[in-house]
């Protein structure tokens, strides 16, 4: 066997190990109710801001605590605690992707990048906003 074959075999073996360990660490997309059943395990949930409740962030009291409420696609609701500043464009979001753990009734996010805000306006522009803009004039 050639050296290069050995090297390639080793590389493939290493690659498989890497991928297996990578797969083992992957989290899964859940709904809020399936996240409740997996309390304490890190999950990813795609949600929407529940606008019936205010986003609570009072930097004068605690600049490192934001709480808000979300609804998932099945209509489940939960309160979310995020231990960082409120993302600026949160109110405008049409979707919020959360990575964190369900602790009791509260969804806890303890990493700064545990929230991904998707705004209609962020890169692709919101045709609706532009339309409204035009219609007001």
């Amino acid at each position: 066997m050639k050296k290069i074959h050995i090297v390639i075999l080793v590389a493939i073996a290493a690659g498989i190990m890497v991928l297996l360990s990578f797969m083992g660490d992957l989290s899964t997309y859940e709904t809020l109710s399936s996240a409740r059943q997996k309390a304490g395990k890190t999950v990813t949930v795609i949600t929407q801001l529940d606008k019936n409740f205010p986003i609570e962030y009072n930097p004068a009291v605690n600049p490192n605590l934001t709480t808000f409420h979300v609804t998932d696609s099945l209509g489940n609701k939960a309160r979310v605690v995020y231990y960082f500043e409120k993302p600026f464009d949160m109110e405008k979001s049409d979707r919020i992707v959360l990575k964190g753990k369900m602790q009791g009734e509260v969804f806890e996010i303890s990493r700064k990048d545990g929230i991904l805000i998707k705004c209609p306006s962020k890169y692709k522009d919101d045709p609706k906003a532009a339309y409204n803009n035009l219609s007001q004039k």
Partner: protein
Amino acid sequence: MDYIGEHLLPGQLGHFLVLLSLVASIVAFIAYFKSANAKQVDEAVSWRKIGRIAFMTDAFSVIAVFLIILYIIVQHYFEYYYAYNHSDKTLSAKFLLSSIWEGQEGSFTLWTLWHGVLGLVLIRTAKKWEAPVMAVISFAQICLATMVLGIYVFDLKVGSTPFMLTRHQFSNAPIFSQPNYLENITDGVGLNQLLQNYWMVIHPPVLFLGFASTIVPFAFAIAGLWKKEYGGWVKQALPWSLFSGAILGLGIMMGAYWAYESLSFGGYWAWDPVENASLVPWLILVAGIHTQIVYNSTGHSLRATYFFFIMQFLLVLYSTYLTRSGDLQDTSVHAFTGSGMNWQLRSLLFVFVVPALALFIARYKKIPSIAKEENSYSREFWMFIGSLVLFLSAVFIIIATSLPVINTITGSAFTIGEDKEFPYNRIQVFVAVVLGILTAVTQYLKYKNTAKATFYKKLLIPTVVALAISLSISFWGNINYNTYGPGFLAAIHLALFASVYAVIANGTYIWGGLNGKLKAAGASVAHVGFGLMLVGILISSSKKEVLSMNFLNPLNFGPEQKEKGVENLTLYQGVRTDMGKYWATYAADSVTGKKGNVTYFRIDMERKDGSERFPLYPDLIKNTKGQEGYSNNPDARHYWNKDIFVYVNASSKIQEEKDTTQFRAHEVKVGDTIFYSNGFIKLDSVTANPPSGGYYQAEAGDAGIRANLSIVTREQQKLSAHPILYVRNNEVEHVMDSVYNQGLAIALSKVIDDKHIEIRVRETSQLVPFLALKVLQFPFIRLVWLGTVLMVIGFVMSMLYRIRLLKPVGAERALRKKEPSTPPREVPTEI
């Protein structure tokens, strides 16, 4: 209806030129194809002539299309949706340019423009490879032209035109029922605030030039397979692949610099899918460059070269699909959302993937390869191993990035866990170890075979020096990044050695191996840059620090809170606040900007040891594009060995509700409790004739009492307040007390009887302006940028060197005259 004041000519011209570019590129493709397949010379020449004219027409058209888009934006012709939607009148000239690449149409135009320019250069320089190479590029131009076509074939939308009229985009908006509607559209929606940054003016053109240039090595490889002259193109394509490597690498790192400066990714690299999508083709391109050089010198690795050059371009197309199709929007901060062109993006991918791979597989066996394997002490063997490692690391990144696509295909629901970066870092740190060591050692090997004794002897000094340096960094550099345990920390130290080794060994090779011949030292310079970049990445990311750790507010937010969220510090205006080694003071703020949309804050920073004081001016920008909300923009102080970044995360200035709250009176006796929104206030005791304190100066003859209140917040924080009521010269005076962080103002307003007093409490969030500040420190970040610059310089040096080697005899003779003993071909021939 006839509309008043519209400028329809540029749009019509633009439309026409897009169509012309489509037709011209089809003609160019057919003509070059015929020319490449022609049996007779004069037939080939006459087809080539048609091809050239057609391609020049195409290049002219796409350049003109680009200029027309620019003209429309600069003239503020808001009757065009592109100008309306991506610009406004307040933008300065350079940002008008970046308006072009805010939308997909503009960035496709930019890409096809670069193809045009590169094609023109190839027509002049590609010689006998012109026909097949230009056929491939013309084919790409056909595909890209359809992307900005914007016509409907039956019900299918083909492309999206940058010349769409606003009134067509919103054809049923009532405003367009008036012929003079333009008088009412006085300004555009504007440019995304994030793109209003100097780096966003230059990063996209450079990156797209990089993307566009990857087609050249690909086209040469396809041409080689097509014409069955398998090795004939390799030398000639080397300057092109080096050019690609330089520009794409530069473009990627400019993006990283922008991300760093605007902190929109929280650093310069976050393994965001958009970043990965451009990194992966670059890694494979670099792998291809190395095997290409191996082939030039030894005849080995030709098949690998084909594979890498084909894959890197296919991955550019795949990346384009990933970032523009909207498939990534749940995993990326910065991907485009869908544009309804997914079928077209997918087709673009398939029309290249299927024929290219089919051709490669069909001809694979015929690509010459050397049966005898490489010697273990040969340069080519280890260069190949290095390329393989680069390739595997790219494969890993692209699989992880493609999870959303994999999910769509297999119906699974996997996603990267809570920690987005570590799954990548823990793999790539080992890639860094292997690559660092290979980069250091391989230069000292010769092609074919190396005398072991000289090899070890030459390597000894650089190895010892590198060990000494990296061990001193390890021991005294205070690198104790134990977030992920001792295993990862050990890997970081190992990688640190490997990258220092790469820097030192390549640096000494310029003198030891090349006798200081800088012209031929491009590879060494690039490798030194690569090593420095790795050192910078390792140190800056393992020692990144949050300076604004919130130790001041001695708050007890619960048992776990301390580790969780303490990165923001609240500063009240004028109050000097403890921030680790610094005092930070929120001194002032002011509103500026053409639209009054920028609020600057002045933060005075002062070292506690008194060694320096400096102001920083982070700002908050009210979002344009008719949206609510704000974006923050950091300010930084750069030192030779670190950067300090300050940014404002929240401010009372942008809370718009007015302060209308009133004092509420409460009648209490000692031991009573008053509730407020965030906790309660308890009257512990009353002190008669209190001593001076706070704003109260006791004088003889005063008769006063002081209420001693303790406040317990919802977060179990314990605070106190001491309002005073006193009578001086028969006048009743009050000294209020404020609890800033609770927004409480408390007064002792009167004594009701010998047991009861009246306490007035006002709750507001606006006692004093405040802001939430985050301060980050990145040490040795300059090494990353310095390394990048060196790497790019190295690439360019090699490219120029290779171009000179390709020059016909005259230049070669000149070279020989200078260095009579070394014929140019035997000058060490790595990149």
